[in-house]
Symmetry: C2
Subunit: 319 residues, 2 copies
Amino acid sequence: MEKKLIGVDLGGTTAKIAILTTDGKIEEKWSVATDIEDEGSHIVRNIGDSINQKLTDLQLDNSGFYGIGMGTPGTIDYEKGTVKGAYNLNWAKTQNVAADLKAITGLDVYLDNDANIAAVGERWQGAGEGSANVFFVTLGTGVGGGIFAEGKILHGAKGAAGEIGHITVDTSEHAYDCTCGKKGCLETIASATGIVRVAKDLARTYEKGSKLKTTSEEITSKLIFELAAENDELATKVVDHICFYLGLACSHIGNMLNPEKIIIGGGVSAAGDALLKPIQAYFEGMVFPAVRESTSISIATLGNDAGVLGAAWLALPAE
Amino acid sequence: MEKKLIGVDLGGTTAKIAILTTDGKIEEKWSVATDIEDEGSHIVRNIGDSINQKLTDLQLDNSGFYGIGMGTPGTIDYEKGTVKGAYNLNWAKTQNVAADLKAITGLDVYLDNDANIAAVGERWQGAGEGSANVFFVTLGTGVGGGIFAEGKILHGAKGAAGEIGHITVDTSEHAYDCTCGKKGCLETIASATGIVRVAKDLARTYEKGSKLKTTSEEITSKLIFELAAENDELATKVVDHICFYLGLACSHIGNMLNPEKIIIGGGVSAAGDALLKPIQAYFEGMVFPAVRESTSISIATLGNDAGVLGAAWLALPAE
């Protein structure tokens, strides 16, 4: 019987775990709560025990698996298999994640960060299926990204490759301050909180009526897209404003890396075509012909499964 | 005896050819004129004959070589080893470059484009020596680039990866038109001709005296840097203006790819620190902390040898 893969997508509230075939079919999927007590020292133990228990329940043993791939927040040392600075896990200090999880399960463990495994998942089984080069952009509380190029995840000198959220898209004096310490980052405009900030700013100088100005609901990026869908002029202006900057950022990706696919995921991407179409229009105006013909943008298709899929891919043996 | 490598850097006027050791030492270096007559049909024959002649002269034969790496203008089909659209060689139609050169020399032939081999050359033996990730930016008649990431040259979907010259850096209404058909490309500002255009534009509204306005010499990028070195205020403004856009472009490279090194080469890079220092200053203001600490910018060190070195690297057997 062909060996299988285990994928773990570790987040601040739960770890999603799955058993997959080598062609990317999810056969089992479950989750364990992330217990961040005691400096997060129970997290790896809980995941390992849960995997062992599941294999026992399924009457399988670890000889039937190539290994475990795992996506994690924090800064990863790829050679040592360690993680540090994952503050939402209470992992301030260095954790021997790969070695500890291997000690519990007897399986080799491969780590990468959450944006990178989502990139790989979408590239393997989702919107980027079969593409040699994929740039994944995630629009959520923050803006992140991951790059898959010519068969590999790109990490860069300090693991910061793919950090599209911090490219400087606004060089004007009005640029917003970013949590990273500089100004004008894409994240200040196109994250879920950035979109709300843009809406409030544009509302201030908008003189006509708009539901966005009068609503008693909390202003969220979801509400802004809903109002834009109802042709609210101010909401439409907000969407256009953020899509200009996303189109500019995607044009930089296209002109510099020429991937087959730029894939947009994360919570904000639920807006679908209302987000995608204006980004595409701005993108096409700002890329040169060879890129216009060969790089396309689409919305992620795997939702929450991208993580476990991409994580499992890490454990695939080299062809 | 350890086998050697042959590197060919094919350009519109000459093909530079070299014999190298596998650790990048150039042992022989010569060139052949590029004969673009008869639709460039003599080019590959002349290079092949010249290599065969040199091996005979040196009492070597092809069994002492791993193969030939070659950098070429035009659009390359990497699987087929063909080149088309190299207009400065009169190669409008598809040329079977790899197969034809192998037929003449008996050696395997590996192709890549000129900016990519320069990137690889600088990464192997020059300013990026030993770095896992290098982005090479060439400032000449145009602005081009090449990316070496995690052991590979990145090509992208249609060979356009690295085309930093066409990222949109000016989104204002004053953006210059580019030969690529769009507006605001880095190349319109930071190529040798772009720099002169910026100088003429700024001179128009500059009300004080400046040698740049009164000189009888032809305005070139070289002259502009010379006058800036003499503290000519207008020339200094021009240099600052183009370095802002180069710093912005380099910040996009840093924030997106986090290479250990961004290397600036090409004719304009002869300006050295006068170009590098202001680019670095703008760059540091526009990258986030992890990139500021791990990505640095420097001037290329190999000059014309980057091409044959990088080309030869293509023929190195996989480790």
